[in-house]
Symmetry: C2
Subunit: 306 residues, 2 copies
């Protein structure tokens, strides 16, 4: 679908420190999002204001960073992956807006700011989420129908929405170390987190015109990093202080939530995250030196303290 | 994007009676939807059951019928437009599921059956709508990135979601014959109804590999039919009996809703619908005999009594 628009250079650019890389990703993602989103005063203004409120809310832009890292790993120019960086963040943002609704997690604050339905109203938040999803697909269409299908599968009933549904279905069910709980936990984490993170890596590869082998390697990397990210999140919730976390710690346990720590215990959760980090790094082998930035990103995701 | 896959015949098939055409459209749309939707027992089963509950709820499949009519008018084979028939109905269904939510129109029944959040629960209905939207884009991706962009624009913040937002914003505002009310009414109707009906016609043309002139003609036809459809709806609500309508008539007026009848009066609304029908028929001129089925469909849409 995409013409091969790679730069003539044959080696990926050298890795830079993770914080510098993440800053670059934030800058590029924000520029791509600014370009994709209608102006706040364009009709219908209230809807566009609600969409912008949720998109420009201080997010870390981890998914766009993985798009960028995967694109660079496949020797693609940054400009090629701008639509994918914007699209994955638009889709991720809509899931947060809907998850925060009273009928779902009923959260009033996200990163210290009022959630969309608090800053506006519930109906506007439902519609803003709906419109953000449509805009994600309009934006990713610039990369061709293959990219649309990849995003739609990750964002659909067998991806992120399915994981959220399973999470809902699990509410109130007993949490133990049984096989049933372990299987359910894996389905939730694969759906809610790993599907979108693997999708980010795949879209980065696709933007760069990667070979099938490179693309498959980046999907495997993304699945491992996605699961490791979620486990690290569970560990942080169980161990970090409120000051470090920026939210109330221990909330998962208090709510009887199905987490890695609840099912496997803290030590096993930590070792599983490290094992997944090794899997992720191993998956990058076909990319050679090009994978170095993603190796550093995987280490960051597992080791982060907030 | 699409190869030219037209049948070698050079004339569109002759028009058939509207009721026979609509029956064919229902059969073809239901088959395409059955094919697009995951099985009800596939993970996550509750979500897939909610999606199927809302999709297979006795809808008239008017939008897929317009896809089919437009495809046939451009001498395209029926099989070419199956993805577009399914996608437009999946997107339309998600808007109904979300519109029925307590925070929006708060409807318990649709066509005499429990709405999604009544048959399941509110969180599941939000997620089922979200997943139906993703599935619409996954399905339409089979027709190429151009079709995705067409559907995303019609289904986005400046299309159907924008119309719904303007409808919300209008709640409680005075309804009169002022220019402001008329402009707002047009924005609501263009967004909520005409955008998706024009999109159905454009996707039908695109599926058939239509020429730019044919495609533009069908968009103009769809915009006029879409507005006529909405005005006919407003007239029906104000005039028909409950038995004919299958729902409580006069509900719009009782709720102080901004409708064509409220702003322009019954006679002017009727004449405006007929004027739009003439516009729609005139727009079909470039299609010659191929447009006959769509002429009959426009007449049906304006003249229907339920």
């Amino acid at each position: 679908m995409l013409p091969d628009r790679r730069e003539p250079r044959i080696r990926a650019r050298p890795a830079i420190p993770v914080d510098a890389f993440l800053s670059e990703a934030v800058r590029l993602a924000d520029a791509a999002l600014e370009c994709a989103l209608p102006r706040a005063d364009a009709w219908p203004a209230r809807l566009h204001q609600a969409m912008r409120h949720s998109v420009f809310a201080g997010g870390k832009r981890l998914r766009p960073a993985l798009v960028l890292g995967a694109c660079r790993a496949c020797v693609g120019d940054d400009v090629l992956c701008a639509p994918a960086m914007a699209a994955i963040e638009l889709l991720h943002t809509y899931t947060l807006v809907h998850d925060d609704l009273p009928a779902m997690d009923d959260d009033d604050l996200r990163r210290g700011r009022p959630t969309c339905h608090k800053a506006f109203d519930e109906a506007t938040a439902i519609l803003a989420g709906d419109a953000l999803q449509a805009l994600a697909f309009e934006t990713v269409a610039a990369l061709g129908a293959d990219a649309v299908a990849v995003l739609a599968r990750a964002g659909g009933s067998r991806g992120v929405v399915g994981g959220q549904q399973e999470d809902l279905d699990a509410e109130g069910a007993p949490v133990d170390a049984s096989d049933a709980c372990r299987a359910r936990l894996e389905r939730i984490h694969r759906g809610k987190t790993a599907a979108m993170i693997a999708c980010a890596c795949e879209l980065g590869a696709l933007s760069a015109g990667a070979s099938p082998a490179e693309r498959a390697a980046l999907v495997r990397y993304g699945e491992a990093v996605g699961l490791a990210f979620q486990i690290a999140d569970d560990v942080l919730d169980a161990t970090a202080s409120a000051a470090v976390l920026g939210k109330t710690p221990g909330k998962d346990a208090a709510q009887g939530k199905l987490t890695y720590v609840a099912v496997y215990g803290l030590e096993r959760a930590r070792s599983e995250a490290l094992r997944l980090e090794r899997d992720a790094v191993a998956a990058l082998a076909p990319l050679g030196d090009g994978g170095e930035q993603l190796v550093a990103l995987a280490h960051f995701v597992v080791g982060r303290d907030h």
